[in-house]
Symmetry: C2
Subunit: 475 residues, 2 copies
């Protein structure tokens, strides 16, 4: 998944309000960080150099990519609720144990799973054309004969409202332009409900992407309360445009849609946990995370194999280098993120008593492309410290610090929502949504050097925050 | 299709050998064009302005795109040998007649057609994974149970030779890197034969493309004489890399390949012809062309709907503006290009007696992206004239002239091979092979303004060459 407000897509205010733009880590005017604290952060410079040397040029070079490749090549996609995901979790758990990380274990999560079966969409009038498609997570099925119906093409919710009188008994095709993921994904998540309100029998949504090679994108959707649930799938940008052109010419279109899937009311999975236990404040937590589950298309290499693997590899790097901080670094490999942050929500519920000990929650779920800094969500005082830390990444050109008004993760938003500071890496993820939730989410997206940079930065940010004399201030 | 030596891929020598590079149309040192001829070419400037005004800003603006969209939306892919292509040819023929072009007719072509039926490839060991694939044109079938066999992955013909002792009874997977279309397409065209020589039972070729979203590419292949024909298909870049990684790890791979297709020994189609008959030398010909057939995936909008449509629209533009040149401009919309220039070869055979009257053959089969000049294959003396003509396209930044040592077209190569000058447009087709022979060859690739520029340039180049006082010199 990806949070709607992903940094490629939304406006963020930059920490550096003075003349110098946020490309450098020079302190902004309003940062009045006590000199001893600035000095303390700068004292981590030798550790920064040591970790970067070890991961970028030393024995760990290329290892995150190699581990991720072996993992995704072995298991492929890892839909929550499948035995394949559980096997994949066992495999990673074994890795974490073999690395002698602390307190390696799984924490049970229960949920209603969903799994696609046979599905297809065909334009049958005025000509026969297969429409590449992916049923959306949580969609209801058609009958086995499918739904054959006329078509109304709309380009927005407003356009749907204008054409509402024509919609009854029809399949609504959304050909909304792509603006940004955050602004456009509402058509995927709410398009079926909006169409059903006017009596549509199914909805086909143009995939949420700025670029397509006739590529359908999967994703989750939810029915609004009180509307009749109708089958809903994503089709390709190209086919949505084709249908729109034909519709505008006044051609009567008919589509045959067949969708079959199963719901599993008592699906079980696990969040996977490993730690480097803190020396003096083991009860205080810096959490570093990604999700192990994926959609059922592609190989889940980018979303979110990369994020999960830089998370646990960052702990292995620290362990190998004997770097044990004052506080505990806890690695969380979430499950069932794609179905709606189910693993993270279960974790929050199960760990209420210790949440006040959480100093920082870190996540990578927006690509592990070349990083160029830190995105942070929290207080300005905490941001000033993060800014100092970002300044340590000069040698890898990753000193940018952006203080976001919004959540900076998907799973970790459950923590951010209760005022726990959140962080992720800024990375060159301009093409993230080309691959997102498609068959093209494979190892071809992942670059060994970029993964090394991500692993090293995750190791260093979590280590420094976990080791500082002061907690990250919440206000 | 695309000729292997497409300009994006091969080194060409530039006409302008002097200090000024070939970006301008200034005459090269060795061009000693007689002043009256230079003056004559420059006298076409008002006509150039008139045609550009009419197509880019006047009543014809956007029409090529609109015509092409309506055509591809109506017919979709147009595989040679299908009724759909014949319907599409009827449709275009009707258009040409409605425009009152001269001598509109079809010329019969016979050939052995090939049509894919059900096909699939699955990795079945060590895990089950669908491999997106497209059987290659002319491939033999598997039995209905398919071929289940172990796998040898190679990265080149040399690598295949090194591993030849392991190949017997196996499926050979080619994971050759993409260098250029011209250099890499030999794996598609000859990979099956090379593998069969060592006893392989089937071959799977990494698709010939620099970029993929798990996109399989179709194409033609040919068996060498004397080898046992084995089934052959293209798989995706991503899957070829996946199989290669697993193979290198020593994992035993097994693939189940099922392919079914039909050969039609007596398929019939037509080359489509229209003319603007010359005023004083109607027997002399400037030919302007593209092919109407396509592969059976995608919509054939780029390959080669665009090329065919700028060809016939360029005649309509001239007709509408009352521009009738001294020589005849003949529009040829080839058939069965994808199966190996079958329409063009039949045409050559049927028109032997008039070939000495052909002044120039023009083709567009490498995309109708933004044009920036002319690519020419012929004598230096002719090139000097083409250079003068290119100079007329200053206002649209399309003055570049490249004299190619190789053929500059696919269909027209049959004419170029017998010393008839050939020309095509240079255009910004860097991404051509992203879409080539895939489901992504749709109207989304085509841009209205670029199509206008292509149509206008085709109209003007063919008009000026057809109208000059001198024939284009062959030596």
């Amino acid at each position: 998944m990806a949070r709607p407000g992903l940094v490629v897509a939304v406006s963020l205010w930059c920490l550096t309000l003075a003349s110098s733009p946020c490309a450098t880590a020079s302190s902004p005017d309003w940062c009045r960080l006590a000199l001893p604290l600035r000095a303390e952060v700068s004292r981590y410079r030798p550790i920064v150099n040591r970790v970067l040397q070890y991961v970028l040029h030393g024995p760990y070079k290329g290892r995150t990519w190699a581990e991720l490749a072996r993992f995704t090549d072995t298991f492929g996609s890892r839909l929550a609720g499948t035995a394949n995901l559980e096997d994949a979790i066992d495999y990673v758990t074994g890795k974490l144990r073999a690395e002698n990380l602390d307190r390696v274990h799984g924490e049970r999560v229960e949920f209603t799973g969903w799994q696609r079966s046979n599905e297809s969409a065909w334009l049958v009038r005025p000509r026969v054309k297969n429409l590449a498609m992916l049923g959306l997570g949580g969609s209801v099925n058609t009958s086995s004969e499918g739904i054959k119906a006329g078509v109304v093409v709309v380009t927005s919710f407003d356009d749907l409202a204008n054409k509402s009188s024509q919609v009854k008994g029809k399949i609504v095709v959304y050909n909304q332009p792509y603006v940004s993921y955050g602004e456009t994904v509402v058509y995927r998540s709410r398009g079926a409900s909006a169409a059903s309100k006017y009596g549509a029998v199914a909805a086909l949504i143009r995939s949420i992407t700025p670029f397509s090679l006739n590529t359908p994108h999967a994703g989750q959707q939810r029915y609004s309360d009180g509307v009749r649930p109708i089958p809903v799938a994503c089709i390709t940008v190209e086919d949505a445009e084709l249908l729109d052109r034909m519709y505008r010419r006044g051609i009567e279109l008919e589509i045959l849609l067949k969708m079959d899937s199963k719901f599993f009311p008592n699906a079980k999975s696990r969040n996977t946990v490993a730690e480097i236990k803190g020396t003096t404040h083991p009860e205080k937590i810096v959490l570093v995370s990604g999700h192990l589950d994926s959609w059922d298309v592609g190989q889940g290499a980018m979303d979110d194999g990369g994020g999960a693997f830089i998370s646990w590899n960052s702990l292995v790097v620290l362990k190998n280098l004997g770097l044990r901080p004052r506080r505990t670094i806890r690695c969380l490999l979430w499950t069932a993120e794609e179905e709606g942050l189910i693993g993270a929500q279960a974790y929050l519920k199960g760990h209420k008593s210790e949440l006040d000990k959480f100093n920082l929650v870190i996540e990578s779920d927006e690509g592990t492309f070349q990083p160029y800094g830190i995105e942070f969500h929290g207080s300005k005082n905490a941001a000033c410290i993060m800014n100092e830390i970002a300044g340590l990444f000069e040698s890898i050109n990753a000193t940018k610090m952006v203080l976001s008004k919004e959540n900076v993760g998907s799973d970790i938003e459950v923590f951010e929502n209760i005022n726990i500071p959140g962080a992720s890496l800024l990375n060159r993820n301009e093409k993230y949504f080309w691959y997102h939730h498609t068959e093209a989410d494979t190892m071809a997206v992942e670059d060994p050097d970029s993964l090394d940079l991500n692993t090293a930065m995750f190791a260093l940010i979590s280590y420094i925050v976990a080791d500082l004399f002061v907690d990250l201030p919440k206000s």
